[in-house]
């Protein structure tokens, strides 16, 4: 089945359902809101389990430090806000009081990437992977669909330590079936191929699969390796992809600086030098616009990934 024919679903909905479930079953779980509960969908916890819901107001720095304090008393706080505010407004608090002391705080960056619903550059998070992956002890995850999102939430509940999960606002094709199990540090080979490998994460994974479909029509065989776990990263799978196909395209809804592409390049430069093309937002400020216009202007569409594939093939040795 082509990716465009798959059912689409919101990560936010499965995130909040899974969060409600772990709030019901795990007495240590508490949910902290920075007044965005109707956007992040954690309002389901507020309405169905109000004693588990802590409104912290529009004060992200305080919210993340409060979460650190809660964690020291044996609780597992889940903080959800826009990825932009989590990663850029409260990162000092996260570094000093959550990452460095390795506290069990779960951070949900909803509305990551470029598509935040006509809100413009102040609400877009194109730097969060880069920022979070520089913090020691920090786990950085980005699911590709709603099923993987739920699996990740349940996994993170069982894991002891700081975890950042970057979610998206909009609906994405359901790639995984209900048997899917998230494994930390493991990539998922979604599509086999021989000419090149597209390595993608988060929302860009379904666009990467679509790009592989476009390339297949032109007799180019592209593998797609989805990396839901950006830190720790699946080093073996990345090296294997380079060895098997000899050319790499990275694809992420994030700045080309410091994110998935950089992480992949760091590994290949040290272990298996391979031509790479990077798909992501170039060194530009974004703006408010609808999804298709943004994806087109900032070159994140499947066609852009396919073009990058052809560029890297031209460089393939």
């Amino acid at each position: 089945m082509k990716i465009s024919e798959l059912k689409k679903m919101s990560m936010r909905d499965t995130f909040s359902t899974a969060l409600l479930e772990i709030s019901q079953t795990d007495s240590s779980v508490y949910v902290l809101d920075g007044d965005l509960a109707t956007s992040t969908k954690i309002d389901v916890v507020a309405t169905q389990l109000p004693e588990k819901f802590l409104q912290m107001g529009i004060a992200e720095q305080n919210m993340l430090s409060v979460a650190a304090g809660l964690a020291t008393t044996g609780l597992q706080p889940w903080v959800a806000t826009f990825a932009a505010f989590m990663s850029k407004r409260a990162i000092d608090q996260i570094q000093v009081q959550i990452a460095q002391p390795n506290l069990d705080v779960k951070m949900i960056g909803a509305y990551s990437g470029l598509l935040t619903g006509l809100t413009g550059k102040s609400h877009q998070a194109l730097e969060d992977i880069a920022i979070f992956r520089t913090l020691a002890h920090m786990t950085v995850l980005a699911p590709a669909d709603a099923v993987e999102t739920a699996a990740m939430i349940k996994w993170a509940n069982q894991y002891n330590g700081p975890v950042y999960i970057r979610l998206a606002r909009d609906n994405y094709p359901i790639i995984f079936d209900n048997q899917y199990k998230f494994e930390l540090g493991k990539g998922v080979l979604l599509r086999e191929g021989t000419d090149l490998t597209i390595i993608s994460t988060g929302t860009q994974t379904s666009r990467a699969v679509e790009a592989a479909e476009i390339l297949a029509e032109q007799n180019i065989s592209a593998a797609v390796l989805h990396l839901p776990s950006i830190k720790p990263i699946d080093k073996e799978a990345i090296i294997q992809a380079a060895v098997n196909t000899g050319a790499i395209v990275t694809a992420e809804e994030h700045s080309v600086y410091g994110g998935l592409g950089s992480a992949v390049a760091e590994i290949l430069a040290a272990s298996e030098p391979t031509p790479i093309e990077f798909v992501g937002v170039k060194d530009r400020n974004s703006e408010s616009a609808d999804n298709d216009d943004l994806l087109n202007k900032y070159e994140l569409l499947p066609t852009h990934v396919a073009e990058a594939a052809k560029r890297v093939l031209a460089r393939k040795r």
Partner: protein
């Protein structure tokens, strides 16, 4: 020995230790720790329910030093209280030491929260007090902030939210020494602070406010009692203190914020403290 005599002796010992350690390390803060030391001593020797032998006891009271640059003052009191050997103080600020330049909760038992970046400790203390309430635990949380630190917006974010959760198990101690590294000094000098009105601010945020002399053990002991008797709202103790307290040539001089004493200055300071008493 009366409580007050005990506290005085312990505080004097801590003052001597912190001066010797900063001199030895060739770095560290002095003025802020000296203004805080009487408050810290009262917390650790009289007020808090703690046991140095069980630093992770879930029922223990918590203390967060939000003004983390006064770490050496806290370390001196913790050593005096028996959390670690007194000699270890002299590893302060050196590689692999548990006594980091700013408090590190992973390094040293007895440190409840890593701090140093100002404004953060108070929020973490709110989280601890909230954690106690949510789990019906009886421990209390104490947190010391600085007046300079209170220029951080996060302090007021924390001040805003704590009354919502009726955190009567939370006590903030404001070490109001009226001097900071360079920014401004008190209210009536050339570099005077913007409108401070600290009592009014905390009152407006919904806190129970107590104003005391931060070097009077009687005042400090009474304030902690009043905080415990206060229900349904958090308490802030605004403690008027003197930066560099106890050493005549350091008192009220902003240059001693993080200046290292020379051999002669150390000897003079220790002489002054010996005249007061202690070990």
């Amino acid at each position: 020995m009366s409580v007050i005599n005990l506290l005085q002796e312990k505080a004097t010992n801590a003052r001597k230790d912190l001066l010797k350690v900063v001199h030895h390390a060739g770095a560290g803060h002095i003025g802020g720790p000296l203004s805080a030391i009487d408050l810290l001593t009262t917390l650790y020797f009289n007020e808090m329910n703690i046991d140095p032998a069980k630093p992770k006891d879930p029922e223990r009271d918590r203390f967060v030093l939000s003004k983390g640059h006064s770490a050496i003052g806290l370390y001196a009191v913790l050593a005096e209280r028996g959390y670690f050997p007194n000699e270890e103080l002299f590893t302060f600020d050196s590689l692999n030491s548990r006594l980091q330049g700013h408090p590190d909760m992973k390094a040293l038992p007895g440190i409840e929260m890593s701090t140093g970046s100002l404004g953060q400790g108070i929020s973490a203390a709110v989280g601890m007090a909230l954690g106690a309430k949510l789990q019906n635990k009886n421990f209390r949380t104490y947190c010391m902030i600085g007046d300079g630190e209170s220029q951080e917006g996060q302090v007021w974010e924390a001040a805003f939210i704590a009354p919502k959760y009726q955190l009567d198990n939370l006590v903030i101690i404001l070490d109001y020494n009226k001097l900071q590294q360079y920014g401004w000094a008190g209210t009536d000098t050339e570099r005077s602070a913007p409108n401070e009105l600290l009592e009014e601010k905390w009152l407006a945020f919904g806190w129970h406010v107590i104003r005391i002399d931060g070097h009077s053990y009687t005042d400090i002991l009474q304030a902690f009692e009043e905080a415990k008797a206060t229900k349904q709202k958090p308490t802030v103790i605004i403690a008027d203190t003197v930066k560099g307290k106890g050493i005549s040539f350091m008192e009220g001089n902003y240059l001693w914020h993080s200046k290292v004493p020379s051999d002669e200055e150390l000897a003079n300071a220790l002489n002054e403290l010996n005249a007061v008493g202690g070990l």
